[in-house]
Symmetry: C2
Subunit: 369 residues, 2 copies
DNA sequence: GGCTGTTATGTTTACGTAAACATTTGATGG
DNA sequence: CCATCAAATGTTTACGTAAACATAACAGCC
């Protein structure tokens, strides 16, 4: 299983491309010639059509193998009018959510016989975005999934080829696009209620960056859940998703003794927050409860293990692919939003608030410092 | 400039796809007809060739715009014999390293006018790998970058189209492939020496999974650096890159009072290790020093902030793209390894060992457990 | 004024595949 | 034994682009 095959491969495929000559790939015509049939018959075998004698089929397959024949996907795409490829546009792969979603998309797409082409937009400047999309315009893609706030996309005056379908994650543009997303509001509500149920008067919020729809949605839901419960939302503290920003925010929050519960908009910021609280001597969860969002794999290893909202990224990715393929096949300009439910994962970073006010009035009251 | 044109466009490009009919995209011929030139002239304008009158060019561009013309990349690829696409094969995007490398590859490739197609291999079973590669065989790709131990690739009896060049990350197969990788050995040596220089007798190692070349390399270098310094390597503790596995290993290590310094093969495992040590009441860095590998963005927010080996993933990705494009252009079967240097980032998780043996002999000796 | 050379543009062709149509072969039935 | 039909295979054509080649127009020159 080595020498013979190796030699055949070297001969046919011309591994010995020493002199830099482009080695021609065998085409259907070559296979047909060797097998003594027409190229159409080769095509039929290649595509698994019925109506080919077993005998013929075997001959063709043998010829294919000998020549190392591979269908030329460019020619196929040209002929069929489709590329069997889905493009994914995203800002950086720095955030867990984007990556996990991307991975699920790629896996789902592969299952459907589609490839995934990545279109990263490095810096969110107008120019960058515009550049990426002008590249996209002539990209070999049948459909596009956009993982970012879609208004940035409009800002780039994106024009896609007419038959390219679009599905969007992390956006609220469900009046213009098909949107698949995590149920941000539901997850947030679960997190905030969990803290209120534990007895906290109110819940502080460490928000994500303003540009992100997901962040916006979580902030809105946080505020809504609090007012719904008759509590006053404390001032908003803003981060940028990074642990470092969580740390900065945490130093601020640690200075406020009235802050006993914090809902961080993602786990990374919660991590930084935990460090800041620790540095300031505020114990978690005894003095302050912290809850995150995402349930990254490391969340269970934080100090203390983080209570957080679990997102089903795999499901989001799968639904994206399903939706975009359905749109392609039915050519329907379907719109609207599909939400993927979340699940609260309770670990060790949340607890009832420290005894402060309540039944026992002023036994050893807080030192006013 | 509206009714006539609008009608023309509707006729040509058929924007009115109400009835689900596939909308034909305008071709060069359409543009040529509208502009009153030959399709070859349209091609010249499209590809920016000189030798077209400014007047003609303007007319063609106007016609393109009116018809919403987009070059058909399938036809282009067929004609040119290349796809301007690089395929990236990787096991899951769960590890930071893979993701960051992928991102850098995508960015670099875009800069060179290449798209990146993702080929995830979900589960590392023989079948999965084989399946992925049989898909790859007919993938529209000019070159491939493999981010995984390449022997898995051989196991799948991979046959690539002859002119597809391959570059590999995380592998030692530099006698068969072009390899670009982080300088695992150098980074490990820096980490281990840092701990020895602080005065630790020896350094324990929390290794990555056996299948990973990077893990293997780090383990080898750890052992080598220790013996080189005349120390005896303690028994190996193995993890699987996850924080959870680091936690398990940490519980073991915490039980050994002689363990004062641990080199974890990545930051996630270091995180779990930190938690385990904390749970067991062993202070970091006073009792035990911990050092990681990768320098993930969160490492600075661990408790305590983690000393770790910084990897330049962006550079690895960039070099991969460069190497693969060079191989394509020069058609040289270039081999060998390019190493990207690392940098030790000193934070708060490492310190000299606790006073134990040394000048003061047996003042309060260790309780024998 | 015709020759040469240059520049702008047009025409032909081929890339590899697969649909549509055409032909051949062999079997079945009257 | 030929008409009929189905199955297997062959032939033609078109997909959209761009290289190669062909032509036209015009300027410069002796």
């Amino acid at each position: 299983m080595d020498t013979a095959e190796g030699a055949a491969r070297a001969r046919e495929a011309g591994t010995r491309n020493r002199r830099g000559g482009r080695v021609p790939t065998a085409s259907m015509a070559d296979v047909a010639r060797l097998a003594g049939v027409s190229s159409q018959t080769v095509s039929r075998v290649s595509n698994g059509y019925a109506g080919v004698t077993e005998e013929t089929r075997r001959q063709v397959l043998a010829a294919m193998k000998e020549l190392g024949y591979r269908p030329n996907s460019a020619a196929r795409a040209l002929k069929r009018g489709e590329f069997r490829t889905i493009g994914v546009i995203t800002f950086s792969l720095a955030t867990t959510g984007n990556v996990r979603t991307l991975e699920a998309i790629a896996t789902s797409a592969a299952g459907e016989g589609y490839a995934v082409t990545l279109l990263p937009v490095a810096v969110p400047t107008q120019d960058e975005v515009r550049g990426a999309f002008s590249r996209l315009e002539e990209l070999a893609v049948d459909a596009v999934i956009v993982i970012m706030e879609v208004h940035l996309l409009d800002a780039a005056s994106l024009t896609l080829p007419p038959h390219v379908q679009v599905v969007v994650v992390d956006s609220d543009a469900d009046d213009h696009y098909t949107v698949v997303d995590t149920d941000q509001a539901g997850g947030t509500r679960a997190a905030v209620r969990h803290l209120l149920d534990l007895g906290h008067d109110t819940v502080w919020h460490l928000a994500g960056p303003e540009g992100s729809f997901a962040a916006q949605r979580r902030t809105d839901a946080w505020r809504h859940t609090l007012t719904e419960a008759g509590r006053t939302p404390p001032p908003l503290v803003r981060g940028d998703w990074s642990a470092e920003s969580g740390h900065r925010a945490g130093l601020e929050l640690a200075a406020r003794p009235e802050c006993t519960a914090v809902f961080a908009a993602n786990d990374q910021m919660a991590l930084g927050l935990l460090r800041a609280l620790h540095e300031r001597g505020r114990r978690v969860p005894e003095d302050v409860s912290v809850i995150g969002f995402d349930d990254i794999p490391e969340a269970g290893s934080f100090l203390p293990p983080l209570t957080t909202v679990h997102q089903d990224f795999a499901e989001v990715g799968r639904l994206c692919v399903q939706a975009v393929l359905r749109k392609m096949r039915e050519a329907g300009p379907e719109r609207g939003t599909t939400l993927v439910p979340t699940r609260l994962v309770t670990r060790a970073s949340t607890a009832p608030p420290p005894e402060r006010t309540g039944p026992a009035p002023d036994v050893w009251g807080d030192p006013p410092a």
